[in-house]
């Protein structure tokens, strides 16, 4: 069993609204897996099924080799979860909540707890009532990172954190990864996923639209090419796989399908190149392409 999470064809409806419509998700043990999608795509619903809080209407799902609904209590010994919208007990302090969750998960490392509190700059003596959204999120994050869970399920964990804290968060995730833990990270923040994740799954409207390593997914998109040429390159316009070609004197810009790069470069070389920049597709472009699908 080398998949921490394996879900196939998940279906879940709330009344007439279909939240999941055949969603697939595989998270390999030891990887950081990005779970990407716009709001309402079904990310949180999937996570709540994985946590045994919702029962799927259809499809199969296995979590750490068990059934997340039937074996919830047993499986929860081995995971830690940070909800996207952290609500805490208003009359308890942050420190009390961290210790409560830690104890419930079978204890946490006090050294790590202290270190994390310091790095996240969280005052554990304050009542949760007085915490901001970001600080409530930090409480849940400290509790999760200080546990020795083998699987971390993080639902848009940085949505309330400032950039400095996001950096601390990134370090923590990388440390978990080095320690061999599995992380499922749902997000719509692409830079976060780009720096952290080994593989990503992109969901839209309750279905998985793409899944694979970032390299796998990049082949689906186009490379931006900007060049300053010595001579004209008339053949470029008729090459298949070249898009949005603009020529401004000697400057040329276009977008090229990954499998058309070789003939394009040959054509450019024939014309003579003074300067050349190519940019890999950003995840933004990946993302936009899938979102545009909705309106197309």
């Amino acid at each position: 069993m080398n998949a921490a999470v394996h879900a196939g064809g998940l279906v879940k409806s709330f009344g007439r609204a279909k939240a999941l419509d055949g969603l697939d998700l595989t998270v390999k043990t030891g990887e950081v897996h990005g779970f990407l999608g716009p709001n309402g795509a079904g990310k949180t619903t999937t996570i709540r099924i994985l946590l045994g809080q919702l029962r799927a209407d259809g499809g199969q799902v296995a979590l750490l080799g068990g059934d997340p609904w039937r074996d919830a209590t047993e499986l929860h010994r081995r995971l830690a979860y940070v909800p996207g919208d952290v609500t805490l007990w208003p009359s308890l302090t942050g420190g009390e909540v961290i210790d409560l969750l830690g104890r419930a998960r079978g204890g946490l490392d006090p050294r790590q707890r202290a270190e994390l509190l310091e790095r996240f700059e969280l005052d554990p003596r304050k009542k949760c009532r007085t915490y901001s959204k970001g600080n409530r999120q930090k409480v849940a994050l400290v509790a999760a990172f200080a546990s020795d869970a083998e699987l971390l399920i993080l639902d848009e964990p940085t949505s309330g954190l400032d950039p400095l804290m996001e950096a601390v968060f990134n370090e923590c995730v990388l440390r978990e990864k080095r320690a061999g833990r599995t992380v499922l990270l749902s997000s719509h923040i692409l830079s976060e996923v780009e720096t952290l994740c080994d593989r990503v799954s992109i969901v839209r409207a309750g279905r998985t639209v793409e899944s694979g390593t970032l390299a796998d997914l990049r082949h689906l998109t186009r490379t931006s090419v900007t060049a300053e040429l010595i001579g004209p390159a008339p053949g470029l316009a008729v090459l298949p796989g070249v898009h949005n070609l603009t020529v401004d004197g000697a400057r040329l810009r276009c977008q090229v399908d990954s499998d058309a790069l070789t003939p394009v470069l040959a054509e450019l070389a024939r014309a003579g190149v003074r300067a050349l920049t190519t940019q890999p597709p950003t995840l933004e472009e990946l993302f936009l392409r899938h979102y545009e699908g909705a309106t197309r």
């Binding site: 209590t73 929860h76 009359s91 210790d99 409560l100 998960r105 009532r129 849940a140």
Partner: protein
Amino acid sequence: MTGTMTGTMTGTMTGTGTLIRLILRRDRVLLPVWIAITALLPASIASATTDLYAHQAARDSFAAASASNPAQLAMRGPIYDASVGGLTAWTLGSSLALFGGLISILLMIRHTRVEEETGRRELLASGVIGRHAPLAAALAVVLAANLLLGLLSVPGLVAGGLPAGSSLLFGLSTAAGGWAFAAVAAITGQLTASSGTARGIAIAAGGLLFALRSLADTGGIGWLAWLTPFGWVRLTRPYAGDQWWVLGLVAVFVTALAVAAFALSTRRDLAGGLIPARPGPAEGTLPGAFGLAARLHRGTLAGFTIGFGALGALLGVAARGLNTQLDTPQFRELAATLGGAEARLSDVFFTFVMYVLSQLVAGAALVSALRARGEEAAGRADLLLSTPVGRLRWALSHLVFAVMSPVLLLTALGAAAGLTFDGDVARVTGATLAYLPAVWTVVGIATLLFGLLPRLTAAVSWTALGLFLLVDLLAEFKLATGIVLDLSPFVHVPATLLGSASSPAAPLLGLTIVAVALTAAGLAFLRRRDLTPSA
């Protein structure tokens, strides 16, 4: 009263209209139901009184019996006039003030402090909403709703043949009860950052003010009644001399408290309280789900236990002199019909009062029973249930306190009453604890709903308890009989003090079985359903 402030506070009132529409939209079911039920009740009680006591002689003897019944004095006060109108006003005056007061408190806190605590107010406050607009909007809606239900009760009374002027005064007195406690809650909503505490302080103040009126009427200390809204709503004396000016007292009271509430609201931060939050421990010792539940329930339980203990002590004192003081032929006759020739007057008193108070205990137990759903709705259960804490264990951790709550409260009530009455703690405590299975049944209903209809749990549970109260009231006027009456679990509790039931154990066992079955079914459904946060 918001009108008088407009001159100085125009800017801070901006957006009140928008917020009023928001409140009306959110409570579009609750408000009409509450208004309709309360507005219809007076006419139905008046017509039932006409049917039951058709002749003046019958009404006179009923009034004489009631006037010498200390339990009736404690709950409803004296009868000012034995006419149909006078008896209707007496029957409903205190109950409507209690009911309207409670709903007004809940609504006020819901639309002021809860909004701040949940952070929803922040979203609105960043828009074009003046500092005073939220409080003004909540007060406007709650005051208007009370006024409306008071006015709507008038046509029914007039159609039943009662004088229009007095009926209007009765309607306005009903509204006044709600007004007074809307104003009280306007203040308590400013004091603490926690909506639960704000609600608790307001309800405790209501209990104290009610006890004050009770003491005034049972202890013969008439002037005390002038110090409490529960006194005022009776002292307007509709159908018995119509003292309109007493409404002026209510107006002064409401205006003063509202002005104070607005003043307080300018002295604090959004979502802050006047009582500042202190830092707490940096490390926690809560051992798990049960420890957390204990922590969440302990404040409420302690408060209720002290409250019911104080109430019991008060009742014990009030009952002390009864056996000699009220030893009238009428009352002995009443005691004899209820509990046999040997029945002591004080026992009749306790039996009456415990019957009513047990339903208040059920309300307190319901607060504990609904806590688990509250945790789920707020999304806090999600986090805890992602740990190895299983759903059943989590639900049980809260259920334990809902089950323990009536044990504590009924013991406190009975023990304190027995202690201050004649020192025989066991006897009165036995009588109060007899209500345990009935209260557990209410807890069972809430647990069943929690498993079956999570979104409607709180609303339907409170409605069920309200219906039991209504059934009891209607039963008194023979408007509810047979199977309808049997629906209320409280009806089946034997009056152990009067020794009326030959085998008190049978109904108690039956109720306990019903309670256990409801609870077990609720837990079984809970294990099978999806977690449903309210968002």
